[in-house]
Structure formats: C-alpha cells, structure tokens
C-alpha cells in the first residue's frame, strides 16, 4: 500500500509541476511571499493560485476520506458517504435557498449556510435512522430520500430563476481553483481538529464494528459514539461543501480503496482513508491542471471525481460481498391484511376518478380559482386532458414498476428511484440529447428507456450473483444513481447549451406531452397492468426467494429478466415526462400495502391506481401552485410523497 501511495504522490507532484511550470518558470518559484504589491501577476498566480490549490486538493481529499471512513464505520455500510447520506444535497439546498431568498446570509461566507443545511439533513436522516437502530440500509435509503428531496427543491428553485445561478453551477461542479491561502488555513484547522476527534473515537468505533448488540454488551456507549462520529463526519464534509462545493465519491472511494489494498481493522481504515483520499483528489486535480496547461479543456474537479469514481465503485461492488453485514432488515411488524381487498381497490378507483374529474374541470387562471367555463372549454379541455392523461399514465407506470420491483426483490424499499433506474433513464436521456442534434420525443423516450433497462440489467446481473440479496441490490442501485447524478452534474457544469433542456427535463412537466405521447403512455400503462395481473402468481413466489422459486420450477432467470426489462421500459417511458425523481414508484405500493392489500393481484391493481391518483394530484398542484409558472411535476410528487414516506419509516420501529 505504501509503495502505491508513494507512486500516487510522485505522479501528483509531477502533474502539478507541469501545470506550474507552464505558469511560471522554475527560477522564479522561490520568489513569492514578499509584499504582493511588488510581485508580477504570474508570481501572484503561482503563490496565491497554484500553490494553495495543491494544498486544498490534498486537504479536501483528506477531509472527505476521513468523513467517509467515519460514516462507513458508524453505519457499517461500505457505501455511506457525504453524498449518499444527503449531507451534500442539504448543504446545496441551503446555499441555493440563501442565494435566492436571503443573499445577505452569504456575506459571512458559505460555511455557516452549508453547515446548517448539511446538519439539518443529517439530523433528519439520523432521526429516521434512530427509529430503526441505525440499520445500514434503512439509514442509507433515508439519506437518499432526504437528499433527493433536497436536490429536487434546489432544482426547482434554480429552474425558476432561469440562467441566473451561475455561482451554483460552479459550486455543483466542485471547482478547486483558489485565489488565497485562507481556504487552506480554514481546512487545515478543520482537518487537525477532526483528526484528533477521530483518534479519540477510534476505539469506541472498533467496539461498535462488532454490531450494536455486542458493543452494548461490552459496555460501549453505542448511541453516543454513533452520534459523535456522525456529527464529526457531517461537519468535516460540510466544511468541504462550503469551501468548494460538491466533490463526490472521494469519501466513498477512499475507504473502499484502502480496504481493497489490505486495511482490515476500523483503525487502519480510519488512518489510511484520509491519506488515500488526499492522494486520489490530488492526482485528479493535478491531472486536470496539467491537461488545461497543455491546452486541454477546463473541467471542474468534482465532476471528474464523479466520472472516475462511479465506475470504480461499481467495479468494487462484487467485493462488498464479505463486507456487508449479514443483518436482516425486514419489517418487524406483521403486515395488515384486508378481508375484502377488492372492495378497497374499488374505493381507490372511485376516489381516483372523482379527483381526476375535478382536476380536469377545476383549476386556476389569470382571474383566480374556478371551474372551467363553457366558452373556453373547447380550447382548454383537450390541452388539459392530454396533460392529465400523460401524468396519470406516467404515475401508473412508475407505481407498477415499483410494485413489481418490490415483489421481485422482496424488499419494501425497492423502487425505480432507489434502484438507480431513473438515474439510468436520466443518463439515457442525456446521451440521446448529445447523440442526436434534434431528437424527437420518441427518440428521447427510447433513449431513456434504454438507459433504464441497461441499468436494471447491470444491476440484476450483479444481483444474480449475490442471489438478489436485497441489501446489496439496493446498495448497487444507489451507486448507479450516484454515478448518474455525478455525470449529470458534470454535464451541467460543462456549460453546454443542451444542459438547459436537461435541467428542464430533470424537473419534469406534464404539459410537455403530445397527444400521441400521452396515448402511447396510457396504452403502455394498461397493457402493463394487464400483463402483470396475468402472471400475478409469480409475485407470490418471487418474494420467497430464489431457493423456493427454483424449487417450485419457476424459470427464474427468464422471469427476472423479463420483469426487470418491463420495469425498466415503463420507468424510462414515464420519466421522459416526469423527470427522474418522483417517489411515486416507492409510495404507491407502500400505501397499497398499508391498506392491507398484500395479495399480488389486488396489490398490483391498487398500486397502479394509486400511482394514477398521486400523479394526478401532483400534476394539479404543479399546475396551480404558482400559476402561471408550471412547477416541476416530479418535484410536486416528491413533496407529496417524501413526508409520507418519512412518517411510514418512523412508524416502523425497531424491536
């Protein structure tokens, strides 16, 4: 390990030197640090730009490595890091909000604002996680939900302001360029203090690595240790967020790397991760600087680490087999079971029909709220009906995908969003946008469906090997989702005009659907429901696991592949309209279950119908809340859904 680190350090120095030499000849390197007023601009740039940048890359890498190692040690979750736990998104939301609503707050610098945002999200995640004894997968999923909610709101705010959030685009990309030593001094102090605190926490964390129950039996203060270590990790990553923005994956990759290189104990990982993180980021940043010095493109460092880190992480996933604790996280409660499930389904259908009719006829115009009047109904109703049909069909498709995936993986937290499928759809959409100069809506739908299906196939290929173990599948999905968002952030930061339509799509809008598009979606939704009801017996067998399913002669490989492809297609088609985040796929099946609809046929039908219901309501809200500014559909669905999910998660106490 030491030899590898040595090589990394040398190459980092060489690359940085290359960039520095192109800025200032070697003979003048020694000259700076006198009175800046007497220096040449090149010397100033060297002394106050290049040198602190080298320092800040090392410090940030170290802080993120330490933060990630702490989070992973506490949560015993090899995929925990500031990005996956929602801390970074929380900091981002706070900064977006402050920029738009209270710019004066930023006069003091970004630090306090970002720390506040990160702490609030982390607090929320931990409050949710505490109810489930900090079970790794639950905490990770809570973090992701909170993170997605925060970034949905950020996106909506950014969108509402058009092009004007230049500073946030920079921030998203994680740019490391410097113009003074202040940042280096701030982060150095943070790293020293953080390192001392981490050293104090090392031994309790070793005890904790044996599992909560064992640690308690050994007399460790489990709750206190967890709280202290997580707070420390959040502060460290919050300081990084404030200083340079989102630098993803370093916190994730550094501990994974040192573990791969042979660090075994918690102490070793804590010790080596900051070093690995520092070198990782330093090499990436120096390489970018050298590239730019040689006339290559400028690129934000955070975007690069995302691009490299994602694939590396996915490659590391199979190795996680032995690291993920074999902890079962199944629901402790006996699910309610309705005596007359179809009566409940009928009631859901009635409510859905009534609300759909109301949202078709009622609404808001320049003169306020009201029912649509007869004279303009002829022009209005077709427009509105198209939008509602499209939204409802998209909701149905997402809900159905969610229901199918939950049954397939026997995991109540599986959903297109959670499994990274919508992230894959987003990548497919972005790829289509860049491959074709003027892509048609159909091409875009096909592109995002392909992206979704490819993601699902990769995931299930991975999952087959680990026999669909729910925890591992979710973690793999999470990695894909994180990779997708890193890539999208890179696209945003690249300054390409197509990023504009990508940003618009990320938010989602129902009114964008054409008549034929809406009809195609609705046909897909109906066919999907019919097909899944036809094979509903599979959904009884699949949750019982591979052993039982093969035991009763289910052609498991083909069934899984078919369902995964179907869910991928449905998700891709729906997310063209709704954008990648909506939580409908998670929420609708959840509500169906909590209504006691546990048998496959009624469960699927109810989920489908609830998807329609939720998305119709979301579309109505998005259309009316700030008329005439159409708010993002996905955002509205998230706003309805996320709080409900939090309540549902809070309710599921750990026994």
């Amino acid at each position: 390990m030491i030899r590898l680190f040595f090589v990394a350090a040398l190459s980092s120095i060489a690359l940085w030197g290359l960039a520095a030499l192109s800025a200032l000849p070697l003979s003048q390197w020694a000259s700076p640090f006198a009175n800046p007023a007497t220096l040449l601009p090149e010397q100033i740039f060297f002394a106050f730009g290049l040198m602190p940048r080298a320092g800040i890359a090392l410090l940030i890498g170290g802080l993120l490595g330490l933060s990630g190692a702490l989070m992973q040690a506490v949560l015993r979750n090899p995929l925990a890091d500031p990005t996956t736990l929602g801390v970074a998104s929380g900091a981002q939301l706070a900064l977006v909000g402050a920029t738009l609503l209270w710019p004066e707050a930023l006069a003091l610098g970004r630090g306090p604002v970002a720390l506040f945002g990160g702490a609030v999200t982390a607090g929320l995640v931990m409050a949710l996680g505490a109810r489930r004894g900090f079970a790794p997968v639950t905490v990770t999923i809570c973090g992701m939900l909170v993170g997605m909610l925060a970034s949905a709101i950020s996106t909506a705010l950014t969108l509402g302001q058009g092009h004007y959030l230049l500073s946030l685009v920079i921030w998203n990309g994680g740019a490391l360029s410097q113009d003074s030593w202040h940042g280096v001094f701030r982060l150095m102090a943070t790293l020293v203090l953080g390192g001392v605190a981490a050293a104090l926490l090392a031994r309790p964390l070793v005890v904790l690595s044996l599992g909560g129950a064992t640690a308690k039996a050994l007399g460790a203060q489990v709750g206190l240790t967890r709280f202290a270590a997580l707070s420390l990790a959040v502060i460290l990553s919050g300081m990084v967020s404030a200083e340079v923005g989102l630098v993803g994956f370093v916190g994730l990759a550094a501990p994974a790397l040192v573990r791969r290189l042979g660090a075994r104990s918690v102490t070793q990982v804590l010790l080596w991760s900051p070093l690995a993180g520092a070198l990782l980021l330093s090499v990436s940043d120096s390489a970018l600087m050298a590239l730019a010095a040689l006339g290559g493109p400028e690129m934000p460092t955070g975007a690069l680490t995302g691009l490299i880190g994602g694939p590396v992480l996915i490659a590391l996933l199979p190795k996680l087999r032995n690291i993920v604790p074999p902890e079962t996280e199944r629901s402790d409660l006996i699910a309610p079971r309705a005596t007359h499930p179809w009566k409940r389904v009928a009631a859901i259908v009635c409510v859905t029909l009534i609300l759909t009719a109301l949202s078709l006829l009622g609404g808001r115009g320049p003169d306020g709220w009201g029912i649509i009047s007869g004279d303009i109904a002829a022009t209005f109703l077709p427009l509105r009906a198209t939008a509602i049909l499209a939204a409802a069909s998209a909701g149905a498709l997402l809900a159905l995908s969610g229901a199918v995936l939950q049954r397939l993986t026997a995991n109540p937290m599986a959903a297109p969003e959670v499994l990274g499928v919508t992230g894959g759809a987003a990548l497919g959409y972005a790829a289509t946008l860049f491959l074709f100069s003027v892509p048609s809506p159909f091409t875009l739908a096909f592109g995002s469906s392909t992206g979704a299906a490819v993601t699902l196939i990769i995931l299930s290929a991975y999952a087959m090997r680990s026999d669909m173990a729910p925890a591992r599948l979710l973690l793999a999905g999470l990695a894909v989702g994180a990779f997708a968002s890193a890539l999208l952030a890179a696209v945003m930061a690249s300054g390409d005009p197509r990023a504009w339509s990508l940003l618009g799509w990320l938010a989602g809008s129902a009114s964008r659907a054409s008549v034929s598009g809406a009809l195609a979606l609705s046909v897909m939704a109906v066919v999907g429901l019919g097909a899944s009801l036809l094979v509903s017996r599979w959904f009884d067998i699949l949750p019982l696991g591979a052993g039982v399913a093969r035991g009763v002669g289910l052609p498991l490989g083909r069934v899984r592949l078919g369902l995964v492809l179907g869910a991928g297609l449905a998700t891709g088609a729906a997310s063209v309209l709704v954008g990648p985040v909506s939580f409908i796929g998670l929420m609708a099946p959840h509500i169906a279950r909590s209504l006691g609809l546990v048998r496959p046929a009624s469960f699927l039908a109810a989920s489908w119908c609830l998807g329609v219901l939720l998305m119709t309501v979301a579309a109505f809200g998005a259309r009316t809340a700030s008329y005439p500014y159409d708010l993002p559909l996905g955002l509205f669905a998230t706003l309805i859904g996320a709080p409900w999910l939090f309540v549902a998660l809070l309710g599921r106490r750990h026994s």
């Binding site: 730009g49 006069a107 004007y164 685009v169 740019a175 113009d179 115009g365 300054g495 504009w500 500014y629």
Partner: protein, 286 residues
Amino acid sequence: MASRAGAANLLVDRASPRIAAIDWAPPRIAAIDWAMAETAMALGLPLAALAEKRQFVRGAAITLPDACADLGLRGAPNLEALSLVSPDLILSSNFYSFVEPQLERIAPVYTRSLFVAGEPALPKVLLAMEALADHLDLRAQGQETRAHFETEFDHLAERVSAFADRPFVLMTVGDARHIQVFGADSIYGGALARIGLTNAWAGGTEFGFNAPVPVSKLLAFPDAHLVLVGDVPQNAQRAIRQGALWSALAPVRAGRLLSLSDNNPFGGAPSALRFADHLVTALERA
C-alpha cells in the same frame, strides 16, 4: 445622454402610432424567447404574452405593455395561459425547440436559430428583425428599424473610435474565484464588435449556460479593459476589492475596470444597443 440610453424605448414609441395610422390591426404575438420578444417590440409590435415576464422586466431594455400576460417558465411555458391569450403567432428560438411541438397545437410558431456556440449572435438577431418583419408583411418597417439600429451603433462607434484597437473582456462575476466571459457568440460580444472594439476573449464560449472560468484566466489580458456586466454577488465583492489575485491584475491596478448595470444577455438588438450605450458612456466617464 439620457435620450441615447433610452434609444430603444423611443424607437418603440415612435413606431407604434404609425402602425395604428395605416389602420392595420397588429397580430397578437406571444413570445417564449426573450431575444425574439425584444425583436418584435423593436418592430413596434405589442406583445400579448411573454414567458418569464417577472424576470424579464428586471433587466429589460424595453418596457412591456401592462396587458402583456406572463406565460411562466421559458423552459416549460404554461400552455393553458398561452391558449387563454389566443395568440396569432408564437415567437421562439432554438433554445426552446423541445417545447415547440406543444406550442404548435395552439398557434403557428415562428422560430429562429439565434444563439449557437461559436457563431456571432448579433448579426443573426438583426437579420431576424428583418425576417420577422417580412414574415408579417412589414418589410418596410423591418428595414427602417434595422437601419435605425445600425445608425445608433454607428454613432456609438464614432464616440469610442479612440479605443478602436484596445482589447476588452466582457464578463459577469460568478463568485469570488470564477467569472463568466462573453464571447463573440453573445449579443454583448456582437455589440462590442459592432462599435469597433476588440473582444480580447478569443476562446470558445457556449452560450446559454456559459462555462465559468477561473479568475486567473484574466492574467492573460494585461492590456485589456475589464467590463463587469450586472450585479456582483455579495461574496465576490470583497474579493474584487481586496483579493490578492484580483488586485494583482494589471487592468485593475491601472483602473481599467468598468462596471455596467444589469442588462439582459439573452435579449435582442435593443439589449445589445443598451449594453453598447452603457459601455460607451462608462468609457467616456473614465
């Protein structure tokens, strides 16, 4: 000076009565793209509706009629609000091609490709002015308006002929360490070239979501005038006044830092003219 600053406004005020005088009912025009909106208004056509009106009003070179309806976001215009306006024509640009199929359901869409990376935008905006006039059978009107703008630009060019060979860097400030530079493919860059000044920034820009560049890039232009357009964010103000790198820049030391008031970088010829006017005024004051 005031009359020049309000040149575009005067133009509209002067043009509108003439249209009424020849007893011609102007078409109801809704605009999604701001540059096309300014183009239509420069031609004296009142807008019935405009996307993101709230934001437009803040930096616009032209006053909107009160009756003009807001259409919501440019990227996701509210189709219901648009259909309530019942426009005869919808103006759009290549930025919004992805919503055009939906717009077509309501009214014919007139769209121009204005902002393309690496291609000068101002000539295209001026051409669009004539083309739109042609499209609406207002050929004379179009030629006259364009000629008016060309004359105004010529006047401004005369006033800054002393600076003819001096390089300029046009930018907005993103944060303490990053700026967004306007290239020849922006209307600001176009206006700069049109009044005979040189844009020092030869590097590519990508209009619409300009790639931010580090402040250190400005070291390459020791002889240039640095032109800041629009408000400087809170956290960047201190850096510009005191930061080591900013104060080490040769143009800053030599006092060649100009600060212009907010404008509309996505506007049309009126915004370009107003920007040029502000720039010339600032140069004359300096």
